[in-house]
Amino acid sequence: MLLKKVKGIHIEGRKAMSKSKHIYQDVNPQFVYIHLLQQTSPLKKLVEVGDKVLVGQVVAKREGFGEMPIHSSISGTVTAFKKVWHSSGKMVEAIEIENDTKYKNDPSVVKELNPDSLTKEELVSKMKEAGLSGLGGAGFPTYVKYMSKSPIHTVIINAVECEPYLTCDLALFKTAPEKVLKGLKYFMKAIGAEKGVIGYKKYNHEYPDLLNPLLKEYPNITLHGVKDVYPAGWEKYLVEQIVGKTYSRLPAEAGVIVDNLATAMVFADVVEQNMPLIKRAITITGEGIKHPQNFYVPIGTKVADLIHIAGGYEKGLDPANSLYIAGGPMTGRAILIDDLIVNDTLGGVIIKPLPEEKNHPACLGCGKCSDVCPVFLAPTEIQRAFESKDLDSIKKLNADKCIACGLCSHICPSHIEITDYVVRAKELLRKGA
């Protein structure tokens, strides 16, 4: 169809401030808080106040669709159930665990003697028992994808990290490059795919530099560099670039499963050490942070502790005129109180001063938002339909296809909250229908 190829646009990366830093792994939090929320499903807690827990012990479980256990990330004592901030911008109940700093492993965490002999079913059940979920930002339970009935020929590892500022995936990768290949190998085995591809941004030469020497032992795995554009890390874009096919809802339609780089690295540990998902990498960065850097921390750590290690806020930072962003700057959320807790999907916290206030004119109708939209919507038309609460038109204009990538607001020369209009139109559609 006319002009229908996702091009994406180049966005200044601003990654330099945290990119070259080594990943900081020695965080020793006094307390961790395990949110009783995974994606949008509330979790059922399986411990009581006063219980002793070990690293990797099951403390809660997700029920219904995507059911799986959630594990303690440290060893210590359950001291309370508290409401704490979650990266979704809401307060969520959490299990507070006091750290005994011994990091004693649960008896279930044992070294797998012969990981190569595991069958498909055993690998998928390991994913489930480890509570493995997508670490890229959506937090979708991984094992659900691997129960797909459609034939899968390729597993793609998404190492693109197209959001500006964030560098945690790259930093984590550099600590143990081979883990990615191992994780990918197990992923391929779990679904019976014959090909594995690692997609990365071309300018991140670390990926080929570190992986090419190792690839000899992994004959079915290749690397694929993509352009430095946003949203290159979007599943559909990546699948289109690598496989040359597109799909309407799930990558499985194109015979592909896409997983995040960090998820693959965790999966290597899940298979070989039986260590569940208890840690994640996170970037603490932004113009408002003294020494921006990357961390690899137990899930449930207080972000304030990490900011403290990163040298605290820049001198003279006025919180009332600054943003505290949970997640990437394109799709993240402004958090009002700086009391956030690391959860499984939080890839970064960015502190930056608010931009200078400007006198912005009305929409002039330049149409740049339609031009950049990766799903070919007409955001201004959806806004018009939303303002008149015209459900029928919102539906016809395909508002539900919006992936909330933020490009329309990004490019708008008049600073209109156009992404927000489309997202709200989408919500209206969901509620109304």
């Binding site: 993240g332 402004a334 400007k358 912005h360 004119p361 149409g367 339609s370 070919f376 007409a378 933020g406």
Partner: protein, 393 residues
Amino acid sequence: MARFANAKAPFVRLSDEKGKDTKTIMRDFGIGLMLIVLFAWYKNGIMVYAAGNCSFLEMMYPLVFILLAGFLAVLMEGVFFYLTNPEARTFKGLKKLLETSYGFVPGVILALLLPLYTPIWILMFGVFMTTIVGKMLFGGFGHNIFNPAIIGRVAIMFTVFGVVLAAGGFMNPNEVIYDAYGGATPLTLFSQLRTINYDALVAPYGSLWNFFLGTIPGSLGETSALVIIIAYFWFVFRKVIKWFTPLIYIAVVFLLTWLIGIVNGEAGLWFPLYGILSGGLMYGAVFMSTEPVTTPRNPLGKIFFALFVGALTVLFRYIGVFPEGVATAIIVMNIFTMPIDKSTAVIRSTGLNKKTLVPFLMLVLLLLGIMVYAVLKSIDMYTLSTFMMGGWF
């Protein structure tokens, strides 16, 4: 613990940076417009002065005339804001409103659409129609439905154009002296003669090369294709306009004019070239068919808009009563901007399927219908002798 500010994603925006916001777009547009203004001044002021046909003060007149239109537009907007908006009662508030209203631009565009010797009171009337009726009454910048400058131009054309012509009209002093064309612009001549003949249409003005350079009589800004093409490249380079809109518009006019020539026994390429170089076509294509507020926003809509404007321009120009078709075609299509925008947005986001095929085919058929009608009708117009003219439409 500290309290932070609230805002909505994304937190990285081009509009927060210097040189990527609407202000820059309007500035770049202004620079392109200034090229045209300078050429109009060169052709109607400096060249005439160099030939010794006017005094120094008269040389400045074209420039003063154009800038005056801009200032009048800002002034009228200021008065309008003062009367209707309580915020504008202070100097600071008024400045803020005027800063985001860009009143200067439609004023200048209007002046460039007018003949040199338009009396000042008519200019004031035109600017009033442009900025107050065409723009502010619709809600100001970004809300107008019609291209404001064309509203002004059409208002003058339909009411007091005789006065403009009587006051001196299009001819600058150079052209009055070397008048080989009976005081007519190419398109006026064409609509009087109703014949497709190189010797009658082009020869009086020298050659088509003069059409390209712009040394022929016409409205202030519309004559020079060369300068307009330079402005086009500047706009595309600065991403002020979409590159394809003017090209599609001009291509449609070129092809249809060629077809009209062929069915009327004149297959030479000079006729379609004459068609796209005469009158306000180039100016309209680059400066008005791309005007963001009053034209569709999504790319597919822009393509359809350009196709329709092209077809209508030919229809109005070769079949209608008035010599010029650009202004009327654009203003007619402005009415359909919203429906085109919406239907093409649906087509573009869903792709061609059972549901969208019908509106898509309807748009295409309507377009083809206009084109075929224009070509067929032209056979009546130009193959019969000119005295039959009056009764045939």
